[in-house]
């Protein structure tokens, strides 16, 4: 009951969705199942979010380390919910203002930090320590200059374009085929029930 039924549901849903790819007659049922998948996926994301909220809640309840920050997170969450459900979501609303003034700067700045780390890594870590690294760094420098459309006299933009359209294309195409086969085989193992790690999350 706890493992056999889920595996059965998984197999039925998987086989139907794979077979419908080739059968036009299954279109109406396929469209309806797509809607269900979308809704259940939405619930699973909200579940992930709920467990994050639950963890912060637990941290505040038990006054564990950094609990004031978790409290701030919960207050921000509550404030955002009120703004969204009462104030509405148009362009001039408080909800949109909170998104633009808090969420957008944090996300953008968090990844902007990487530019600094890239600079320090270029100085302290990127070495031609092996033929692999040498080929990589030479190609990288050529592409960096080529992307700025500089060094036209030396034909660097053309070499950069050649690197992008020839070795890079060959390598990325082989990697795509490899990754594609890997994804398809993992998906197959899930449908057939060999791969069960997603079940492991529920208590046995």
């Amino acid at each position: 009951m706890k493992t056999q039924l889920p595996l059965f549901i998984c197999a039925v849903a998987g086989i139907f969705m794979a077979v419908q790819y080739f059968v036009p007659a299954a279109l109406p049922a396929y469209e309806r199942v797509n809607d269900y998948l979308q809704i259940v996926y939405a619930f699973s994301i909200v579940l992930g979010v709920a467990s994050v909220v639950h963890r912060h809640g637990g941290r505040v309840q038990k006054r564990r380390k950094d609990w004031p920050y978790s409290l701030a997170a919960l207050i921000a969450l509550l404030f955002m919910l009120l703004a969204g459900f009462i104030g509405g979501r148009g362009r001039e609303t408080l909800f949109q203002a909170l998104f633009n003034a808090i969420l957008l700067p944090v996300q953008a700045t968090m990844f902007a930090l990487l530019a600094f780390y890239l600079a320090s890594a270029s100085f302290r870590a990127f070495r031609t320590r092996s033929t692999d690294a040498t080929v990589l760094l030479i190609a990288a420098v050529i592409v960096m200059i080529g992307r700025l459309d500089d060094g036209r006299a030396l034909g660097i933009p053309d070499i950069a374009r050649w690197i992008l359209n020839t070795p890079n294309l060959a390598a990325k195409r082989a990697i795509l085929i490899g990754v594609g086969l890997g994804m398809a085989s993992t998906a197959l193992k899930v449908v057939v029930g060999i791969e069960r790690s997603y079940l492991g999350s529920g208590k046995e």
Binding site: A18, Y21, F22, V23, P24, A25, L27, P28, I45, L47, G48, V49, A50, S51, V52, H54, R55, G57, F85, I86, G87, G88, R89, F111, L113, L114, Y117, L118, S120, A121, R124, A125, F126, R127, R129, S130, D132, A133, L136, L137, A140, I175, I177, G178, V179, L181, G182, S185, T186, L188, K189, V192, I194, E195, S197, Y198, G200, S201, G202, K203
Partner: protein
């Protein structure tokens, strides 16, 4: 948003009932929250369209000339519920600027007595033909249509009746044959090899050069008496790269145990943490030195991506490990880890299937295991049947693709050389065509 993915798989520790009730209550209370936007339901929209048509007064001005060329086709390759209706403009309608403002499409099904409006189309749309896909019909039933041309003042005239035409249901997307054969071949190959691996047949996997690099690094590090730092990636337990990394961790821990040296394993995922502890403890016991296993060398740091990277860099600077092994799934913070490791002079071996992080690992580390090599290394060590079998199945499928490409290229080249026109049979076989026909 990795914290969300991690969150997705939590829930196995003991939990009180409160959050569940909260979650349920939260969702049931939503519909009664006063929604800010004024929402009128579908029902009213349809009435408004109906009302404007009914108010069409008897023709005071001259009626516009009706639409004469109406074409009805069954939609190819569908479930037989759709008819494609297209018609040219009325002669009084020079592209929406003239008197004619709207066209109404009327349909009479087998069970209906009179024509009913199905869709109104504005004349403003560009192009000389207007089209509409009429859906929700019964396969095999005959439907006939006519087009009513309307002016701004509501004066209208009906065109001649066309049909009846019956939508037909098809059972196979004819131009998806190549995908079907590929999928069947793939499924058979993978399942056959997994069964063979489970039955213990010896399947050959070549030794990945990366494994020699790991052995050498761990060997040199233990000679210097320094600890080894092993990072099993920062992804969740269900990530293929994490599972592959845990296999390699077991072998590395066993080797370190035999040299009686130390291994540090900082974890970022609360679920991977207990698994790494068991793997290392079991490896030390298997090497015959269970007492050397130090509980606090395998520890949980934090769930936050950047805080984890900063904390591990602190450990690197403090503990000065001789070798850093970064094997598993990494994201943007891999740059920070690799840089600090390189600056303290540790031998670094990295392995990940995160294609976007590999360029940094190659330049900052001494050796890098690329993408699928990580899975092959794990299969080589762990010999776990499903991983071994599916890897072999994929390998042989890749071989088929390789041979097909070689034949295709040979044909194309000989075609161009011999008669200046490539033989492109192979690429016709491989070509991906739209399902809709």
């Amino acid at each position: 948003m990795t914290w969300m993915r991690a969150g997705l798989l939590q829930g196995s520790e003991r939990r009180s009932l409160l959050p569940f009730l909260l979650g349920l209550l939260f969702f049931c209370s939503l519909p009664c929250v006063p929604t800010a936007q004024a929402e009128d339901t579908q029902g009213q929209a349809a009435d408004r369209v109906q009302a404007s048509l009914a108010a069409a007064s008897p023709p005071s001005a001259a009626p516009p000339s009706p639409v004469t060329d109406l074409e009805i086709r069954d939609k190819p390759l569908d479930a037989g519920k759709v008819l494609l209706v297209s018609f040219g403009r009325s002669s009084d309608d020079p592209g929406g600027q003239g008197a004619v403002t709207r066209y109404a499409l009327l349909r009479r099904g087998p069970a209906d007595t009179a024509f009913a409006v199905v869709k109104t189309l504005t004349a403003l749309v560009k192009g000389d033909r207007l089209s509409y896909e009429d859906t929700g019909l019964k396969p095999g039933a005959g439907y006939s249509y006519l087009v009513r041309t309307l002016t701004a003042s509501g004066v209208f005239s009906d065109g001649p009746v066309f049909g009846p035409v019956a939508p037909a249901r098809q059972w196979f997307f004819t131009n998806k044959i190549n995908t079907l054969i590929t999928t069947i071949l793939f499924v058979i190959l993978i399942l056959a090899y997994i069964r063979a691996a489970r039955r213990g047949r010896s399947l050959f996997i070549r030794r990945i050069a990366g494994l020699d690099a790991i052995d050498e690094a761990v060997g040199r590090c233990t000679e210097m008496g320094k600890p080894t730092l092993y990072i099993p990636g920062i992804s969740t337990i269900s990530d293929v790269a994490t599972i592959a990394s845990l296999n390699i961790l077991g072998q590395v821990a066993k080797k370190i145990a035999t040299y009686q040296s130390r291994i540090l394993v900082p974890n970022r995922d609360p679920f991977v943490y207990p698994v790494t502890q068991d793997v290392v403890k079991f490896a030390f016991a298997e090497a015959g030195y269970p007492q050397d296993f130090r509980e606090d060398d395998v520890y949980f740091v934090t769930n936050d991506q950047f805080a984890y990277a900063a904390a591990v860099c602190g450990t690197m600077v403090r503990e000065k490990p001789g070798a850093n092994l970064l094997l598993g799934m990494f994201f943007a913070e891999s740059l920070i880890l690799a840089e600090t490791g390189s600056s303290i002079g540790a031998i670094q071996i990295a392995g990940t299937d995160a294609i976007s992080q590999l360029p940094f690992f190659v330049t900052a580390c001494d050796y890098t295991i690329i993408g699928e090599e990580l899975y092959a290394a794990s299969a080589y060590i762990g010999r776990e049947p499903t991983l071994l079998g599916s890897l072999k199945g994929q390998d042989y499928f890749k071989l088929c693709v390789l041979i097909l490409i070689i034949i295709g290229v040979a044909l194309m080249t000989s075609g161009v050389l011999l008669r200046n026109q490539p033989f492109d049979w192979v690429s016709q076989i491989l070509k991906v065509r739209a399902a809709g026909g």
